[in-house]
Subunit: 320 residues, 2 copies
């Protein structure tokens, strides 16, 4: 992971963002947050920024953790063929990734518990590492972690260069993301918040190891996001970013709001079928909450000059 | 919180530690951990150090969180006098702080849940802040958070000056310690691990707030410490410090051990009745584990030149 030097950022900290109200709102917030005496000033210890992962920092079609689960799920059905007639196994085997990509996060976390129960933490990490080395995105044919959105990587660096601590706050599994968070986003494992399984210490093993249980201890989605953020950080974020799809980020974005303090909520709208994907939310709750809360809504089509890092993923249209 | 400049530390990074095998073992570990090419070298991202709190960074007679609980417990008994005949209330009202100080951490966490259930996170933090402003240690007559051990504050600074990230990993309540961790130890709230209650998001309140529930979600003691460390950090610490009393740190100290990696375990023995307190552990398990694991055992009497910061707390004997 290479940090861009500060001087380079000073010229245009967000070159992959098109000029416009969104880019200007971000730069204005950061400039004021770092200007002592300004009403928007934020003391450095309070500069906490939390980012949803799927659909906010990288694509969620298909869901990366779903792609990871497909192989162990098929193995389990092979071991126990009666599962192939039971849900959710039946639907997953028929629908493959589309089913896993649409599954709600509580059910997905439960599946992750079932496929890897009893495994040591170290063995699970090796499995995840192997997945990221071998798996490729069906459309762009590159490893999944090369598909981080270029504008969001710039935003992460820009915030860090201005004293913000950047965190992942995803509904995905915490241990899954921790394997790639530093290399992909410059976010160390200890700044990753996610859905969790219970673990227990196996002291019979030398040295002692943690083993994964099948029980879900926390689903870091919707109202669970502020709970997870409080547990890991103990402060409200002053900046948070999420995306339109399931309403999973509404409570986190609302949680940036605190009486008497500036807060910035960024909501990404996937409206670019040419360069990425276009989709809406069934009930429109995220965009409605954005209007009510005065959040900054990103149109991928309008606001992003390029979607991916052009040296690794050719953009289908413009940019790169 | 003021960091001591690096040059000042270079002279003698641990002036409150007497010369001897313990001080030399610490300096040797840190020197090798930061010397590239040495077999004891630790890459900067793996320089994670975890510290128990009560009895390791400040005194545990009486238990500070017990002192905090006394007032709300008395209020609850006033509201409901039948409680005064039930345990643990009866014993606490009779024994005051001694009972609370000896209580096992799971029961203490449960009590904390009961006394503050339904309270918002913000209101709880205000209560803790008020406690630390007003309460004084019965022996030294200073606020509890001025009783951090001077040698341990030096150790925390020394480790940070050498690229280590320092964490609290205490059986005490996470939100209780977070209020004072930064000012007392230079450890920000997001690097505090502790026992936890369930919380839920109250969205009816504007802005949304977290409320404490009476249910305990994690007891960060004994085998729970590696679990809490994994949840918050996602890596094994290479350095950990705990103390002799209840065996609560054994599993954390063992967890620093990983095949092929250097690890350092520090165990503090309270053997200084003159300047602080002298006590042992019923079954001697911590000292036994120290012998088996080759841990470094600190004798407060022999290894610490002074116990407290002499400008705030007069040492009864020597130092300061
Ligand atoms: Ca998302
Ligand atoms: Ca202790």
């Amino acid at each position: 992971w290479m940090e861009v030097p500060l001087q380079a950022l000073a010229a245009d900290p967000l070159p992959s963002w098109n000029e416009g109200t969104v880019k200007h709102a971000i730069i204005d917030f950061v400039t004021r947050a770092t200007t002592e005496g300004d009403a928007g000033f934020v003391p450095v210890e309070a500069r906490i920024a939390t980012f949803d992962n799927d659909g906010t920092l990288w694509p969620e079609q298909p869901l990366v953790q779903g792609a990871f689960l497909l192989k162990p799920l098929r193995s389990r059905v092979k071991e126990d063929p009666t599962l192939s007639k039971r849900q959710p196994f039946k639907a997953i085997l028929e629908g493959d990734l589309s089913e896993l990509s649409l599954m709600d996060k509580a059910r997905l976390t439960k599946l992750l518990g079932e496929t890897h129960a009893g495994m040591t933490e170290e063995a699970f990490i090796r499995d995840v590492r192997t997945f990221f080395q071998n798996a490729r995105h069906p459309r762009w044919d590159v490893p999944y972690n090369q598909l981080a959105y270029a504008p969001m990587l710039e935003l992460l660096r820009y915030l860090r260069a201005n004293g913000f601590q950047t965190w992942l706050a995803s509904a995905g599994g915490i241990d899954f993301m921790r394997v790639i968070s530093e290399a992909t986003y410059g976010i160390p494992p200890q700044q990753v918040i996610g859905s969790q399984l219970k673990k227990s210490l196996d002291e019979a093993h030398a040295p002692s190891v943690l083993r994964r249980e099948a029980r879900v201890s926390h689903v870091n989605d919707k109202a669970g996001k502020p709970v997870g953020i409080d547990e890991h950080i103990g402060r409200r974020p002053v900046f948070a970013a999420g995306n339109v799809r399931s309403g999973g980020d509404i409570q986190m974005l609302q949680y940036t709001r605190k009486r008497g303090c500036p807060g910035f909520a960024l909501l990404i709208h996937h409206d670019d079928a040419v360069r990425e994907f276009a989709y809406e939310e069934n009930d429109g709750a995220s965009l409605k909450a954005a209007r009510q809360g005065g959040w900054t809504v990103v149109s991928m089509q309008r606001d992003w000059r390029r979607i991916f890092d052009g040296t690794r993923v050719p953009d289908e249209n413009g940019g790169g």
